[in-house]
Symmetry: C2
Subunit: 149 residues, 2 copies
DNA sequence: CTTGACCTTCCCATTACTGGAACCTTTATG
DNA sequence: CATAAAGGTTCCAGTAATGGGAAGGTCAAG
């Protein structure tokens, strides 16, 4: 099976599939013409990866999950721990986003949105906040870049 | 005022402040020794930027907001539109994350998490989902990279 | 034979920084 | 006064996970 067909089957862009081979998540064999030739196992792995990515797992988590998936003697506890960790991160992000949303929604609601320059949003961004929730005002820029290592 | 003190005042890392100068968000003057010398206006702008970033605005949105902030003849409608756009993106991300969370939480709950290999999480990632919510299973990898352009 | 649809590799761009090297300036101390 | 520590400077590279596009090989059809 060529990469185009695999892309269709898995929903992953061909570019992404090549990248996954690059970082050794999959190792499809090569046909004589140099084309990648994907078998059922490759397809399963890619499907697995696509699902794990869709659930927001980082690539390295996916790698780990894939290893566990292939390891018949795994302990489900290991899988569960990875998943629970990730669940925790998702919850943290949701909390951050909700805090941002609340603060911003207040500002937006207070803004007339007309042709006059007076703007509570800009005021809120320049003045020190008064009664708006801003626990998320520490810099956690939407996706907590390196804070979780 | 030197960069270190500004870093303390604004809560922004010195590296970030230099970066903001690099991309022309601020243009502090230079002292004779080559050090950046920040005045009150620079400090205000950086504080503004820090707050806008904390609310999740992208750098280019921050640039725009900063321009509006400095423009005495702005229309608050312009500001409001930017903020509302962003609010929409935040809502979309929250929705994605919630969908992920729901799916993953179900799987985690079903996993024994012991030393046996049997694992509903891995099963859920490999088999085609049955009754789990997966509207977010299209690939929106947590932060919707290029989908909003 | 050529067109077009595939496939290949390779390199650059993205976002918003962070880390580190190599080097200069200022300040504090023995 | 010498020196070391604590600041500052620039520049280069790396991050996560792709996406875009160039330059070129391969294959099936007309």
């Amino acid at each position: 099976m060529n990469i185009g067909e695999v892309a269709i089957q898995t929903g992953l862009p061909a570019k992404t599939i090549r990248y996954y081979e690059d970082i050794a998540l999959i190792t499809p064999r090569r046909a004589d013409n140099g084309y990648r030739s994907f078998d059922a196992s490759d397809l399963h792995k890619l499907t697995f990866l696509a699902r794990a990515r869709a659930l927001g797992f980082a690539i390295e988590d996916c790698r780990l999950l894939l290893e566990l998936y292939e390891d018949e003697s795994r302990a489900s506890a290991d899988v569960k721990r990875v998943a629970q960790d990730h669940l925790g991160k998702i919850e943290a992000k949701i909390a951050d986003l909700k805090a941002m949303h609340e603060t911003l929604a207040h500002l937006v609601a207070a803004c007339a949105g007309d042709d006059r320059p007076d703007c509570p949003i800009l005021n809120g961004l320049s003045e020190l906040p008064e009664r708006t929730a801003n626990k998320a005002m520490n810099h956690l820029p939407l996706d907590a870049p390196h804070s979780n290592a």
